[in-house]
Symmetry: C2
Subunit: 252 residues, 2 copies
Amino acid sequence: MEMEQREFGGEGNGAPAGGRNLACDMCRLRQSCLPDHLNDDATRHTLLGLVQPGVPMPRGTVLYRQGEPRRSFYFVRTGSAKSFQIDEYGRENIMGFYLPTDMIGVASLEQADYAESVVLLERSTLCEVPAEALATAARSSESMQHRFFTKMAQSFAAERHARVRLHHASADERVADFLLELSQRLHAAGRVESALYLSMSRYDIANYLGLAAETISRAFGRLQESGVIAVKGKAIDILEGPALRAIAVRNG
Amino acid sequence: MEMEQREFGGEGNGAPAGGRNLACDMCRLRQSCLPDHLNDDATRHTLLGLVQPGVPMPRGTVLYRQGEPRRSFYFVRTGSAKSFQIDEYGRENIMGFYLPTDMIGVASLEQADYAESVVLLERSTLCEVPAEALATAARSSESMQHRFFTKMAQSFAAERHARVRLHHASADERVADFLLELSQRLHAAGRVESALYLSMSRYDIANYLGLAAETISRAFGRLQESGVIAVKGKAIDILEGPALRAIAVRNG
DNA sequence: CGGTAATTTGACGCTAGTCAATTCATGTGG
DNA sequence: CCACATGAATTGACTAGCGTCAAATTACCG
């Protein structure tokens, strides 16, 4: 992919010093936004200025790199990102893709250094929450703890889902499941669920699914051949949702 | 395997009503035991009687079943357990094995019902902590929160590790990595790390590693052939740790 | 000691990886 | 606005590794 990898400096992001940003009031994601609830909460006074709805950042921006000291967690407002680890033998492993409302950084919970790197896949806006602030908030009340735990549980479930998908699944099954996952997550974030835009490369998808890039191409081809989806480069239309679901769950 | 699956009733486990159990004072795992710290903590009075170091329970005991309302988390003191999910098509997926000091139930965090089933692989003793009590404790102080988060982070890391292992790994590599993982975890729990006892069946191992049982047999055979390990049924000796590590990290 | 389940071993086929070539998309500079 | 360059994506041919089926052997438990 070879994106220009700009650094993301936490400072000078155009975040307001005090008070809730106006942007939050207009944000369509407030329902499922943990940072905004940080502001709403009774703990407001201790947390004001904590949430920084940043200005849009370009594709290729590095939120953080594996091994750096862990500073903050992030929440996606618009756009998308990918996370990846380099294992001990230098191989890159795509661990996840992040869409609006997703929390970024759970893998680095209680770790001194980030366990993975995160890069924006397109022009995106994010909210940044310093780790200590989030921990404090989680202790402040039962409802805040609940919201925080819910986000963590989501990350854990995503991790499990990704793993189960690798267990006993053919290439077509994995690809079908991948498309459905994106579809559902977009739906949950209030988007159209039948028209997908794959902001990541085929190589990223392949790596994420434990397959070769060529296999992704062929699987897309087969799915299109059978009329279940329509492939137009990075744009994918889900034509037959139920059929796709059947494929995701069938083969072994 | 077809173990007699006895139910585990939470009640009448021989747990003392008040005060810390004497068993805890003698327990070799206190250092890494979260339940015991629940007792030690400043929150002691609110949590007394919370931790129930149970009497040993036989192999095949079901701690809980997928779909049941989530009551408690568990911590392994002696023995071992496995967790597994049944996916929408009826297929069983082994999600993890639990050894002394491990926390059981993180996958069901913030879920109304257990997301998986857990069965003991041998005669074992466990500590049970009701979910609400643990959540309360996690809010009570920064150090308690830290301990709790550390356990959750361990579960998350284990999940990741299991997933990365499935990514770009040959059968031999997965098996080697699996043995090393057990070895390290036993070591962390204060046991001998070169002599493994595999309390789970070959089928469980295979499922856990996303392979066929026959492939596990063959991989063990190859590893023994090359003098890296010695296989004696369920007992495995690691003869050449570094060589095993090299295998776990090599192939693709 | 017998019966059952677990494990090992063997033979074979299929799926997906690899290598290689081609087409397509994207972005750049004239 | 077009030609070109570069990387992404697709397609094809071939191969290796693992799954599957089946049989033999071993371990386990009453």
